[in-house]
């Protein structure tokens, strides 16, 4: 019965979304406050109904109700509880339900926390948000309904074992929160176009939503990369797989949007561009959903393959993106342009940031879609792999990262490049030192690698130095520094942290890519091998049993310079349901790099086992960097200045006092 209640709630949510699409927009058009006021309770009702529906589905998974088709197809009564719950979104139908749940949550957040928005704008935003919900709810109910019932089955078919993993259990919710969070920026952009006006206030309202989406997207992508790193057993952390690109492109666009909205808020410039970026960022999210969900590509995420659904999502995309872009073409010329600035200024630097980010996003776009287009048009099957992306995306990142410390020190309107260079003297010295040290210790790898590493150091040191100069570290008495450090707005800390994080990630990426050691050896029990200073003794193999799998453990003792370091047990697992083998790498995490061991097949006739080893220097920096970036985003988000409504009363009071 709970299942049917959930199904009914879902249908009711669709009707509510329909009401929410029509009434507030009509109200905004005719300036009828009552019609506009329908938007808020409708958004809340929609969240409650979709939430009910989602929990009904989760209930079906938790109690293993195999009369529900998706539960039967994706779950198993013996599965650990965590994966029963995460199984809800481990498949197409459930993940789409999660998608609209998050969409409704963002809509309700605008309704509940948007008290300070102009009524017309809020009504239009809620209307557009509801239109997206209508499209996707229709899609779910008609083409991927998670509540379809079947004659009850005695046992489910289980969840793909490589998806039974804690990182992957939480990777989709974060990724979706990021994708869908950008819908708010989209709705704001469309609402602004409908109203025909935008201003600094608009940018300030959009920024926190975009920032929240960006934080989630950053974490989601990092989690996905981390999962691929240890679960797929290839020692790589990013494969330029189309599905990865599908999440990376919205991230690039969102990053650009964050920076351009800043210019718009402070200087009322780049209005048209910011609106366009907001539309593009969400369009790329939709495209990501389309790519993953339609089956036009097949990759790691090939567990949802159904072309009929693809056509449906494609129609939704064309409707939303096409509609928004047409509106943009029609209304954008009427938007008033704002403040002027010279090329050498904070605004100029942010424009450079935007140009580079969008162009690099474009190269990723081409690399991802070119094979599809070629296949569709000519029928030739090609693959565009990492070499393409390294050759296009990489070079574009170099000027971007180089400009980060400089740009964030330039002042608004008209900057003093010479002054900034003087202030970056120390940063430059640190970077040069890092470069020299790397060259001194490097005995192999591409000659460009130390420069890449130095670039990362440059960004990190630049972030620290900017902070240092703002608090006058070493230049003022300590209590003065402390006072300044406390007085610095949280958004400034956020910026510094995010830039520091990207520098860290850069260092990790360069180090891992350039100096990874790999070795594939055949080992018999009792033999040993060495890699990157570690010695591994292969003791043999032992069978073992997990909750829903059997495994063969390889037993290794690792030592370094004769001193024992750790015991590693990579394994080959055989899952019971569905019956499928997986490889579990064993990873020894150390500050300087990961030792990564994979147990391969047994060689016939007592030849031992194939063992693959990697040493990935500084690989942790990639994910720690991403985490630092996300923390920076959260810091900025907590800045009271971004919560426009909160300080208003206080602001009025103090203004009155000042008068």
């Amino acid at each position: 019965m709970i299942t049917e209640l959930g199904h009914f709630a879902l249908v009711l949510a669709l009707v509510v979304a329909l009401v929410q699409t029509l009434l507030p927009a009509l109200g905004a058009h005719y300036k009828d406050a009552r019609l506009m006021a329908v938007g808020e309770p409708a958004a809340v009702a929609q969240l409650i109904l979709i939430g009910l529906s989602f929990f009904a589905l989760m209930h079906a998974y938790v109690v293993s109700d195999f009369s529900v088709e998706t539960v039967w197809a994706n779950s198993h009564s013996l599965k650990p509880m965590l994966y029963k719950v995460s199984g809800v979104w481990g498949n197409h139908e459930g993940s789409m339900l999660l998608w609209v749940l998050i969409l409704a949550a963002f809509g309700a957040a605008v309704a509940l926390f948007g008290d300070n928005l102009p009524r017309g704008l809020r009504a239009n935003v809620l209307s557009v948000q509801a239109l997206i919900a209508v499209a996707f709810l229709l899609f779910i109910i008609a083409a991927s309904n998670p509540f379809i019932r079947i004659p009850v089955q005695s046992e489910g078919r289980g969840l793909n074992p490589i998806l039974q993993d804690p990182a992957l259990a939480f990777h989709p919710p974060f990724l979706y929160a990021g994708y869908v969070g950008l819908s708010i920026a989209f709705s704001f952009a469309v609402a602004a176009l409908i109203e025909g006006r935008t201003d600094a206030a608009w940018a300030r309202w959009v920024r926190p939503w975009t920032l929240a989406a960006w934080v989630c997207l950053t974490l989601g992508i990092a989690m996905g990369s981390w999962w691929a790193y240890y679960e797929l057993g290839w020692g790589g952390w990013w494969f330029w797989d189309p599905v990865e690109n599908a999440s990376f492109m919205p991230w690039l666009a969102a990053t650009a949007l964050l920076h351009s909205a800043l210019v718009m808020e402070k200087r009322e410039a780049l209005k048209v561009w910011t609106i366009l970026l907001a539309i593009l960022a969400f369009s790329l999210s939709l495209m990501g959903t389309f790519l993953v969900r339609s089956g036009v590509l097949t990759s790691v995420h090939a567990f949802a393959v159904d072309p009929r659904r693809g056509v449906f999502i494609l129609s939704i995309m064309m409707l939303l993106i096409g509609g928004a872009l047409a509106l943009f073409a029609w209304r954008a010329p009427s938007l008033k342009q704002g403040g002027l600035f010279s090329p050498i200024s904070r605004e100029g630097a942010l424009v450079l940031n935007n140009v580079l980010l969008t162009v690099s996003c474009g190269t990723v776009f081409i690399g991802t879609l070119y094979p599809l287009a070629l296949d569709a048009l000519v029928g030739a099957k090609i693959s565009v792999g990492p070499p393409y992306f390294n050759a296009t995306f990489g070079p574009l990142m170099v000027p971007l990262l180089f400009a980060v410390p400089i740009g964030s020190m330039l002042s608004w309107k008209r900057g003093d490049l010479r002054g900034v260079m003087e202030r970056l003297m120390l940063t430059g010295l640190v970077t040069a030192f890092a470069l020299a040290v790397t060259f001194a210790f490097m005995h192999r790898g591409p000659w460009l690698a130390p420069f890449g590493l130095a670039l990362g150091v440059w960004v990190c040191a630049g972030a620290v130095s900017e902070w240092g100069q703002r608090v006058k570290a070493f230049a003022a008495p300590w209590d003065e520094v402390w006072r300044r450090a406390r007085g610095l707005p949280r958004a400034a800390y956020g910026t510094a942290l995010a830039h520091f994080g990207i520098g860290m990630a850069m260092i990790g990426i360069v180090a891992t890519t350039a100096w990874q050691s790999e070795s594939v050896v055949a080992l018999k029990p009792g033999e040993q091998t060495t890699i990157a200073g570690y010695t591994l003794d292969f003791k043999g193999v032992a069978p073992s049993q997990g909750p829903n799998y059997n495994e063969l453990l390889g037993l290794f003792s690792v030592s370094r310079n004769g001193r024992p370091v750790v015991d590693l047990t990579p394994s080959k697992r055989a899952y019971v349901m569905p019956p499928q083998p997986t490889t579990e790498a064993a990873i020894h995490v150390a500050l300087l790099g990961d030792l990564y061991v994979v147990l391969g097949d047994e060689i016939k006739d007592g030849g031992g086992y194939i063992v693959r080893l990697y040493f990935n220097p500084l690989v942790r920096f990639i994910w720690i960097g991403a985490l630092v970036m996300a923390i920076g985003g959260v810091f900025s988000l907590s800045d009271r200045r971004l919560r426009v409504g909160a300080p208003r009363r206080a602001a009025r009071a103090s203004l009155a006092a000042a008068e």
């Binding site: 249908v11 509510v16 006021a37 208003r648």
Partner: protein, 378 residues
């Protein structure tokens, strides 16, 4: 009924929530559309002041920025729109619209829901489903027992009703009353005349009653069947088994092998014969349980016998863990676990078997069939 009640409550609550603004005689006078904008600029001014106080930006820059923001603030204040008229449409229109939505919503929802939903479909949590299956089984047994009692009553009144005995014999067999089944088959044979089917029923029931030992009676019955119909297979199997149980392993093996030689390739009983052959082979090599062990097992009480069987199964599992290259052994183990209702272990054994015999495609096929036939999933 409850379901429909909940549907109605859900719909009504939703409508009440979203239509409330329409039902109000007039919306609260809204703030001006420009208020938020002004707040942002005021905020920015304060921020600049704070930064200038902290010395993050110098005074000249602060003044310039402040002037610019002030300009924008004034411009925004100028274009400040009047608050939207609280109600431009007459209240009646709002109410009519609300009524329309209130009427359309349930209709649309219901139409869509009925197109995809299954309101009559009960939820079936796994645990409950299993419970129900068990319940059904018990009810079935109760019904059968009832039926049996009725037939027995009639037979007590008319013990010469051969048809009655013949009807009840297989039922006895099914519900596990083997001794009664053997007796009923025997009576039916006496009253209605000897036939291979009746003899076979008697013999099989006798064997089952003796816990798998082919007794002298059963052996005679099987021999008689072969006299009547030499084409029949199962007597030859049981007779071979009898030899095996008598300790004549070589003879039994020869008989089984003869049986195999004449068996069609797709005979469903092939597997069990092959199983016997391999078991005997092992015993000949001195591995399996001896005749004495089996004889001992027949004399034990049920609890002890179960313990012994489990001991044997565990021994088999141990052996297979050491050397997994034994398809027949694996099949026996999985079967045994299933019979002992140790489903998880059966599944685990199946998985182990698959792994141990990963390179043997034929074995994989057999295991797959085994899994399907025992309902262990594919």
């Amino acid at each position: 009924m409850l379901l429909w009640l909940l549907f109605s409550v859900m719909t009504a609550a939703t409508l009440a929530l979203i239509l409330r603004p329409l039902m109000r005689p007039s919306a609260p006078a809204g703030e001006s559309a420009g208020d938020g904008t002004l707040a942002v600029y005021r905020d920015q001014l304060l921020e600049i002041e704070a930064e200038a106080n902290r010395g993050v930006i110098d005074a000249r820059e602060a003044e310039a920025t402040k002037a610019e923001i002030a300009r924008r603030l004034l411009a925004a204040a100028d274009t400040r729109e009047p608050p939207p008229a609280s109600v431009t449409a007459p209240p009646a229109l709002g109410r009519r619209m609300a009524l329309g939505i209130a009427a359309l919503t349930p209709i649309m929802t219901l139409a869509l829901y009925l197109a995809y939903g299954a309101p009559g479909f009960p939820g079936q949590p796994h645990a409950e489903h299993m419970q129900e299956a068990l319940q059904r089984d018990r009810m079935h047994t109760a019904q059968v027992n009832d039926l049996v009692a009725k037939v027995e009553m009639r037979l007590r009144e008319a013990p010469d009703d051969g048809r009655g005995w013949e009807v009840i014999a297989p039922v006895y067999f099914k519900i596990g009353r083997y001794r009664d089944a053997a007796d009923a088959f025997a009576r039916a044979g006496r009253l209605l005349g000897e036939s291979p089917a009746r003899l076979a029923g008697f013999a099989e029931a006798t064997v089952f009653a003796a816990d798998g030992i082919v007794t002298e009676e059963a052996r005679k019955a099987y021999e008689r069947i072969l006299e009547l119909d030499s084409e029949r297979i199962e007597p030859r199997f049981w007779l071979a088994l009898a030899r095996e149980q008598d300790g004549d392993l070589k003879g039994a093996k020869a008989d089984f092998e003869k049986l195999l030689a004449t068996a069609p390739a797709d005979a469903p009983w092939r597997a069990s014969v092959e199983e016997r052959v391999s078991a005997i082979t092992q015993r000949l090599e001195g591995k399996g349980p001896t005749a004495d062990d089996i004889a001992a097992s027949a004399r034990l009480d049920p609890a002890q016998r179960k313990a012994m069987i489990e001991g044997m199964v565990d021994g088999l599992a141990q052996r297979l863990k050491a050397n997994g290259n034994d398809l027949a052994g694996w099949v026996r183990l999985v079967r045994a676990y299933t019979v002992l209702q140790r489903g998880d272990e059966a599944r685990a054994a199946l998985a182990d078997a698959r792994k141990a015999l990963a390179t043997d495609d034929a074995a994989q096929q057999t295991l797959k069939q085994l899994a399907t036939s025992l309902g262990l999933g594919s």
